[in-house]
Amino acid sequence: MAEYKLELKGVCKSFPGVKALDGVNLSVRPGTVHALMGENGAGKSTLMKCLFGIYKMDEGKIFLDGQETTIKDPDDAMEKGIAMVHQELQPVLARSVAENMYLGRFPTHNYGPLKVIDHKKMNEETSRWLSELGLDYDPKALLSTLSIGQMQMVEIAKAVSHEAKVIIFDEPTSSLSDKEVDFLFKVMNDLRDKGVSMIYISHKMDEIKRISDDITIMRDGTYVGTWRASELTTDEIIAKMVGRELTNIYPEHNHEIGEVVMECENITSIHEKSFRGVSFNLRKGEILGFGGLVGAQRTELMEGIFGIRHLAAGTVKIHGKEVTIKKPADAMAAGIGMITEDRRGSGIVGCLSIKDNVGISVYNKFLKSGFVLDHPSINKVVNDSIDKLSIKTPSMNEQIQNLSGGNQQKVIVARWLANDPDILVMDEPTRGIDVGAKHEIYEIMEDLAKEGKAIIMISSEMPELLGMADRICVMCDGKLTGEISAKEDMTQEKVMSYATMF
């Protein structure tokens, strides 16, 4: 038997403009749980997608049981005994457990060319696989009647039913309760005893220590190294995950921080697993960073404050006065603006012009005789923004979808400048834009702070967070786990340790 069940060697993968993976190795021993760790954007998911045949790797080799092989697509991967439990479940909620397990490979009775689905066999097989994992769900139950944790179990049963020898778990516990996690680990231990190899992606340190045999750490798309789990302490893992040089593309901080403009208290979502009991305040001319891992509910929290999501509890005071925010228009009336994370989904209106994209939030301020749009004034505002933010475009009538990501983002910034809020929430303000445009966005943020605007910046990029923020709030699993005010305390290690305080 080969030393390694599965080996990836020198995997490289580029996307337009980014090298996502650069010579990554992964060696998984038979019958072990192998943790794959790294910060947001370190390339863990990309690597798994390459292994599973969702992406095609540019360079690199895959060895299964010591034999070199290639994987064309997910079907091919499953045929070769590799299964994946995805982070984002994609179940067919309106169909039964059994149908979900056997989707795409339904057992059939064959009557010549006519194939009829063998429901009896499908249900029996499903029961058998489920009971193998110690589960007693009804195969005929609709998937929508199961909890998220139970759906996850069905997904795992599906992987097991493929008789997979390698199972990839991409952050399976992010939506599970403690009890469900215990159960998942029991199942994983059983699988390990049966000789199945598992690749386990998670940010939760205690889980890694509990379940994994080996740990491979990645950073910025590169391979850092592989260790026995027992060899590393939590602090060492964090240090290896973040150990990078900070490059200085951030403007100098020259803005003055003034009085408190916003106080948020006990902000709590209507969803149990989302943000809860978060309190913080924000000062005039301050850039307040919100750090944390993906899934820490930072976006959800800010969208809750801005009126996009529902709150179960919490008060927001602006300039000492309590405000009720039920929808974004209320937040805007209170002087809050928000640049959302998902620029395509909730930022730009792709088929409209730059002018209309800036205008939609301020058209009610530019009216003649109460209802006729004052086009000349609007044109002036839009053209001024195009100059001020150096938005590269032939004209303000250009459709926004024809601009680059950085320029689109600047148009959204222009929208909020035209609206002139006191408080601006910027959720991942530089996601998906190139370095040059990033720098320009940072300068704009610095200018806004100088003008006395208060800025909340959610960022999953550690250097950006440390480089731009005057103060950092760190969230983990829906709770505020730490606040770092002193400049000398702002280190990657500190942020990371708060961010993993599950």
Binding site: F306, T340, G345, V349, G350, I360, N364, F371, L373, N419
Partner: protein, 329 residues
């Protein structure tokens, strides 16, 4: 990337394919049938286009927000009937309200537009506040309004209108029927609403990306209600015009016009996925459909076969139109 001259010509032909084919068809018809290019024929054509344009302009608002309105046809019939019952000659034998003096036609127009707008607001509220998909909401309203119309009229056709009502169709200003002037006025008002008011800009933003619109502070729900109410008022006007033109109305007046109007919008370039569309789009769409009908009639094509021709034109035109947007990504 610079495009070569040939590519540009090809793009132009594809982007304007339907219009080009229409122009060729019209010229061919004009050359082969001698009565085609006559003022009378075209005035008749414009009169037929007039109320169709009003309907299409109403429905365009719904389509631009990514919706549709299946209740249009029944709303037209309902409004035509209500208007009819209030505008019959006092001495007409089959009078709906015996002995009642006919009202002022302008007052009646206002009444039917208001009634319809209320029904439209109900449809819009279900769409905006309760998130019932437009297809289903307007389907429900289609049934309701038909039922109310049947109960109100007892399914009897109406006629015997006062001349000040039928004059909306027969009367002329500068040699052109009032119906055409009304349609032009409605087109101008709609252009103004689409381009010069907040409401119009909000409508495009909602159609383009409703989440982004909401985050930008657009009053999405209120805007949706207004769009469906306004559209319903337009249908009332169209029903009123149809009644004047036909000199009578029944509950089936306007039946099927909603589909024709949606087809016209799509043909003219109102994107059925939302966010795009102009007044000129509705005009072009209505013109293409009407010209096609008339030209085929002049060419002696079987009236029943014309439906097939219209279907083919819709297939081809929309395939070309969608191609424009897909290619851009």
């Amino acid at each position: 990337m610079a495009k070569t001259k040939n590519q540009k010509i090809a793009d132009f032909l594809i982007n304007n394919g339907v219009i080009i084919v229409m122009i060729i068809l019209v010229i061919y018809t004009g050359l082969t049938s001698k009565n085609f290019f006559t003022p009378n024929n075209f005035l008749n054509l414009f009169a037929n286009m007039s109320y169709r344009l009003v309907i299409a302009l109403g429905i365009a608002g719904c389509v631009i927000t990514g919706g549709c309105d299946l209740s249009a046809g029944r709303m037209i019939g309902f409004a035509a009937c209500v208007a009819g019952t209030l505008l019959q000659k006092i001495d007409y034998s089959g009078k709906f309200y015996p002995g009642m003096a006919p009202l002022n036609p302008f007052l009646v127009l206002l009444i039917v537009m208001l009634i319809n707008a209320c029904f439209g607001a109900v449809t819009g509220s279900f769409i905006a506040y309760l998130h019932v998909p437009p297809f289903i909401s307007t389907l429900a309203m289609m049934e309701i309004i038909y039922g109310i119309g049947l109960i109100y009229t007892g399914a009897t056709p109406l006629g015997g209108y006062i001349t000040s009502y039928t004059a909306f169709s027969s009367g002329k200003f500068l040699g052109v029927s009032w119906l055409i002037w009304i349609a032009l006025l409605v087109a101008a008002i709609t252009w103004f609403i689409f381009n010069m008011t907040r409401h119009g800009k909000y409508m495009y933003a909602i159609g383009g990306n409703v989440q982004a619109a909401e985050v930008a502070g657009v009053p999405v729900q209120k805007t949706m209600v207004i769009i469906y109410a306004k559209a319903a008022a337009f249908y009332a006007l169209a029903g009123f015009m149809l009644g004047a033109k036909a000199g009578g109305a029944s509950i089936n007046t306007g039946l099927g016009y909603e589909m024709e109007a949606i087809a016209a919008c799509a043909l003219g370039g109102v994107s059925v996925t939302g966010g795009r569309g102009k007044v000129s789009s509705a005009f072009i769409g209505v013109a293409v459909l009407e010209l096609l009908k008339v030209a085929l009639q002049f060419l002696g094509v079987d009236a029943n076969a014309q439906y097939i021709a219209i279907g083919i034109v819709i297939f081809v035109a929309i395939s070309l139109d969608i191609r424009k947007y897909v290619a851009k990504k």
